[in-house]
Symmetry: C2
Subunit: 234 residues, 2 copies
């Protein structure tokens, strides 16, 4: 059965990396002794080794070993043999470029659909959607496609943030940006605030965490969804 854990952020303000979800991750990865980490998003250009080491430390507290995909000769085989998969945050354009370049899109889709648990944070959650067209990242590299893994039937906007009423900045708000997405696309978009995640079990998709999420659909008013909302219908 498909199992996904798609988090808006790896880190909430004032708390160490992954700590706010460590209990849930332990239960999500129950029975898994080692996960395959995909460090391609490289936040701030961190090396694959350093990024993997950072993740290794975080997962050691829940007794799960971590191997970086770059440590394997054949990344496709590494995905096929993985007990669990984690794609971390960083730059979504660089991440999707490397997934395409290393021809991992199909094998990731198949593995997850066949039951390999998939954990994503930020960019790693973004690529689980239909496309990366609702990422917040700067397009620092040109990917061969904006198509994503289609592990869920809609798009995510991680790190969703509300309009700051005190701001005098004239750049677009997040809501305006997502509405612009719907001028050209009809894929629903779920704005996941920091601290929220989606729990996917088979065909069931549930909003988790303490905060509401904001749902955007083409030609409809945006609406707030409360925690434990079932968004399987999207």
């Amino acid at each position: 059965m498909r199992k996904l854990f798609l988090a808006s952020t790896s880190t909430v303000h004032g708390s160490p990396y992954l700590e706010y979800i460590s209990t849930e991750l332990k239960s999500f990865f129950k029975g898994v002794h080692e996960i395959l980490f995909i460090p391609y998003a490289r936040p701030s250009g961190i090396s694959y080794n350093r990024y993997t080491k950072h993740v290794h430390t975080a997962f050691s507290s829940i007794n799960i070993d971590v191997k970086g995909i770059h440590e394997f000769e054949d990344p496709k085989l590494a995905v096929e043999h993985a007990q669990g998969i984690f794609i971390g945050g960083g730059n979504t354009f660089e991440l999707i470029s490397k997934l395409h370049e290393n021809d991992l899109m199909q094998v990731l889709r198949e593995s997850v659909n066949n039951g390999t648990p998939y954990f994503g944070t930020s960019a790693g959650s973004n690529v689980a959607g239909i496309s990366i067209k609702t990422t917040n990242d700067m397009p620092v590299v040109y990917p061969p496609s904006f198509e994503a893994l289609r592990l869920i039937g809609f798009n995510l906007n991680p790190h969703y943030i509300d309009l700051d009423l005190t701001s005098t900045h004239m750049g677009e708000t997040r809501e305006i940006r997502i509405k612009e997405f719907h001028i050209y696309n009809d894929t629903p978009v779920l704005g996941l605030r920091e601290g929220s995640w989606l729990a996917v079990n088979g065909s069931q998709v549930i909003l988790k965490g303490k905060l509401n999420a904001r749902l955007f659909k083409q030609n409809e008013e945006a609406k707030e969804l409360s925690p434990e909302s079932d968004v399987s219908y999207l």
Copy 2:
């Protein structure tokens, strides 16, 4: 002689569209009776007609007529014959897509290099650089290329905004995003705060407005440039 006016924003907080630079625009477009407006960036999906009408109203106060490029049968000929060109803000990905689709990149480059005055705001300033890889916009459409017009020898980041020290949001700051750009690219990036613009005359490029701009170069510390700085060397 090449003449460009590249503004960070069309509008500063609390002031009508283009008003904060209306005196400078009047002098920039001296002798020009009609400009060609390129509305492709469509902020919030506004129609080409409505966007052009909006610009028409703003320019009527300085006695300049405005025609939208979509009103011409042959957009390339429209660029060739234009007395002046204005590309307005909106979504940079949609804008660059339409410029490529309508095969306007080369003719725009030639016209501006041959002396047709070019005015850009926000996305319209972004596309004057080397690439659109330092836009802030959401990648709502997939363009055939991220290459831009190369009317200046570096990239701009319009609507540049400083870190908000009171924020608890974990998404990347603008500075972190531009530093990520420099992991993969060596083009210098000038962060133009709202209210700043660049005045290009021939090979001379001067920072205008009351605010500093922030200059980012690969493997160097970012630095602040004061108004009237000459950035022709970039």
